[in-house]
């Protein structure tokens, strides 16, 4: 057997099954995420257990279609129970899902024990963790025969099923994209426009149940939830555009599965171990890895991005506060009066912020250092003037337009000054009865007066 032939026989079928299953789950998972019912995938995947066992007991053999129907029926029944419980019992969705799926799962376990007593052997592990490793194909030996209809038809049934379900799910999402979007965003409007939101919900549940059952072979009933939630949630962290989100989630699903598969299949060898690991497990780990990475590093919604933006703002505020203090000192003691760090800390409070602001201002050449003192540069003075102008405009506005007490407005103005650009400052000035003086009788510096004087 050639190397390539071995890959086609042993690796291609399970990988193809896993990728198709992951894509089906991910496509639908996007809409569960939008409806804030991602747990629904979990609920359905647990709830199908009694359906599988019951179908097995009734038909008394392993006919895949019977088991498929039994599983899907149980999954749908659980969706109906969740909706009913939610509306009748006034339960929040998470609670309703939790109650229903644990009850269904418990029923499945009891049924399984009953089956075991009748010497019918059902492998619980296979249901829970899947059996990707056992899918293989005896393809024609010659490469030329590989792509004929007959050869492809001889692919293992799990592969064909997962491809079929993927096609069905893709068609469903393409055909009902706008209906799914509308009913997720505004169910009341959808219903009033003639798109019955409840009907669309249950239709989605039919497809979720189908995808979940079809994905059993790949990742088992427990880990299928990772495929429903992780790629969609990861993609959501990168974009605010639904189409981009869905496309991105599909790419992530493929990457997750391929990475997970090869980690599981060849990872142990790489580190010199001989024991094999569960491929479903390593795929799920890969999904978790992608989600964690995105939560940390996604530009807009990731933790790091938020921290950087937050820090940048803090830095800018510290800088402007320092400049403001120095401008006021110049006002009191004359142009180019030096200020030292202690005075700034005393006025502003917070040593760390003052040091941060001084360091930043020095780097930007807005202030200069001589001995232990600092003084404003020409550019620094212009910037400082804008800050103090915004501050005093806000104080005036808060007193004259909102009727606040003059001694109450300093702290608020201290915040607002950092978020006031020039157009907004001019808008403020236009609304003031006297844009020359602030409520404490201090002169509001005009726009770039330094330039005018020099």
């Amino acid at each position: 057997m050639s190397n390539l032939h071995q890959i086609i026989s042993l690796d291609l079928p399970p990988l193809l099954t896993a990728v198709c299953a992951a894509l089906s789950c991910t496509l639908l998972g996007n809409f569960l995420l939008l409806r804030k019912i991602s747990l629904m995938g979990d609920a359905i995947s647990h709830s199908v257990l009694p359906g599988i066992v019951a179908a097995f007991l009734i038909s008394n053999h392993r006919d895949p279609l019977t088991i498929f129907i039994g599983a899907a029926a149980a999954g749908l029944l659980s969706a109906v129970c969740i909706e009913t419980l939610r509306s009748l019992g006034n339960l929040e969705p998470g609670a309703a899902m939790g109650v229903v799926f644990s009850l269904f799962f418990a029923a499945g376990i009891l049924l399984m024990e009953g089956a075991a007593a009748r010497h019918i052997d059902l492998d619980a592990n296979c249901l829970l963790y899947g059996q990707l490793e056992s899918i293989f194909w005896y393809p024609p030996t010659s490469m030329a025969d590989l792509l004929t209809v007959d050869a492809l038809w001889s692919l293992p049934p799990q592969v064909l099923t997962s491809i079929g379900v993927l096609i069905a799910c893709t068609l469903f999402v393409l055909l009902l994209f706008k209906e799914l979007k509308l009913t997720a965003f505004d169910p009341a409007l959808a219903t009033s426009l003639g798109f019955n939101a409840t009907a669309v919900h249950y239709l989605l549940m039919v497809f979720v149940a189908t995808a979940v059952v079809a994905s059993f072979e790949a990742v088992g009933s427990i880990l299928v939830i990772a495929m429903i939630i992780c790629p969609a949630a990861t993609a959501r962290l990168f974009t605010d555009n639904l189409r981009v989100q869905i496309a991105l989630s599909a790419v992530i699903a493929i990457a997750t599965t391929v990475l997970g598969y090869f980690l599981g299949a060849f990872g142990p060898e790489l580190v010199g171990r001989t024991e094999s690991v569960s491929i479903a497990g390593s795929i799920t780990l890969a999904a978790g890895f992608f989600l964690t990475t995105a939560a940390l590093f996604a530009p807009q919604y990731g933790y790091l991005g938020r921290q950087i933006r937050h820090r940048r703002l803090a830095l800018q505020m510290a800088l402007e506060d320092v400049l403001g203090v120095m401008f006021r000192i110049e006002e009191a003691r004359g142009l180019a009066s030096p200020a030292n760090r202690e005075v700034m800390v005393e006025t502003l409070g917070g040593q760390k912020a003052v040091d941060m602001g001084i360091a930043y201002a020095l780097r930007e050449k807005l202030i200069e250092k001589s001995a232990d003192n600092f003084s404003l540069t020409e550019r620094g003075r212009i910037r400082a003037q804008d800050v103090v102008r915004s501050h005093r405009l806000w104080e005036s506005y808060l007193v004259s337009r909102l009727g606040l007490q003059a001694d109450h407005v300093h702290d608020t103005a201290m915040e607002l000054e950092h978020f006031t650009d020039q157009p907004m400052a001019e808008k403020l000035a236009k609304r003031l009865p006297n844009p020359e003086l602030d409520p404490h009788g201090k002169k509001i510096p005009s726009l770039n007066s330094v330039d005018d004087e020099s």
Binding site: L34, K36, L175, L176, K178, E179, K181, L182, A184, F185, D186, A188, L189, A190, T191, S192, L193, G194, F195, R236, T239, D240, N241, L242, Q245
Partner: protein
């Protein structure tokens, strides 16, 4: 025990109510609505005039939103019938537009402003069909009407409250309906948005359409609306603003006294909780 069970009334039997004109855009007869068996709207009779701006006013919990949802089959009616131009809601649905409260949707939803306005056209587009460029042009025109044309490509999570309200209004315009229900379109918006909204409403009226708005700012009622519907768990008064929006009716609508109807509602709710 089940009080106020939902039942449907054969529309044909309505012919026995000659006082209802079949030309009225909205004709409500004997509508009672109950939440958890507690009636929140009692026995509402109401005929909306053609080509009018109607303010629905009343205190919190008076059943204003419930009135709208009951008319639109969004919640079940315990009793009563609602007709649009003399026919059922189902048959006239495309002629009726609905603007829910702004807070009723998730504004972090990953769609653009134009996407949301286009949703108003979905009823005309129909199941499974794709959105054509003609629909996009129509939606753009609606955005222009509310002064948000420049925002078409923006994600909706970047909008201010007033802009969100205008997007909802544009979506309603995109429906091209003849009768509109709007739930607090003026709530929490700035002066400029208020002006845009009232301009749009007046234009709708000029085109012969009727708009029913839940409205909280009593001061602006006479300026904005030519008709009022005053609710407090039942209809207190309805008619042209000049004659109906009186001190006496306001006192009745907003009076703090617990009416006997409210007391019995609470008794019913308690009894059903107790499982009597």
């Amino acid at each position: 025990m089940r009080l106020f069970k939902t039942k449907s009334v054969d529309p044909k039997s309505l012919e026995s109510f000659p006082e209802h004109s079949s030309t009225s855009p909205l004709s409500v007869h004997a509508m009672t609505i109950a939440y958890h068996q507690k009636p929140v709207l009692w026995d509402v009779d109401y005929d909306a005039p053609e080509s009018a701006l109607v303010a629905i006013v009343g205190p919190n919990g008076a059943g204003k939103t419930t009135f709208i949802k009951g008319c639109l089959n969004l919640i079940p009616r315990a009793t009563g019938t609602v007709e649009f131009w003399g026919s059922s809601y189902q048959s006239q649905r495309t002629r009726v537009g609905y603007v829910p409260q702004r807070e009723s949707v998730d504004w972090d939803f990953p769609v653009s402003v134009l996407d949301v306005v286009l949703m108003g056209r979905y009823g005309k587009i129909g199941w499974f069909r794709p959105i054509t460029s003609a629909h996009k042009r129509a939606a753009m025109q609606c955005l222009e009407d509310v002064g948000l044309a420049d925002f078409a490509k923006r994600q909706i999570n970047q909008l201010s409250g007033g802009q969100q309200q205008r997007v909802f209004l544009a979506r309603a315009l995109a429906q091209e309906s003849e009768l509109y229900f709007m739930d607090e379109p003026f709530a929490g918006v700035d002066a400029a948005t208020s002006q845009t909204i009232i301009d749009v409403l007046r234009r709708l009226k000029q085109q012969g359409k009727t708009v029913l708005c839940v409205h909280h700012d009593l001061v602006s009622v006479p300026e904005y609306f030519d008709h009022v519907l005053m609710l407090n768990t039942r209809v207190i008064a309805a008619g042209p603003t000049a004659e109906t929006f009186t001190q006496e009716h306001l006192k009745k609508t907003y009076g703090a006294r617990l009416t006997l109807l409210e007391e019995v509602s609470q008794a019913i709710a308690q009894a059903s909780r107790g499982g009597v």
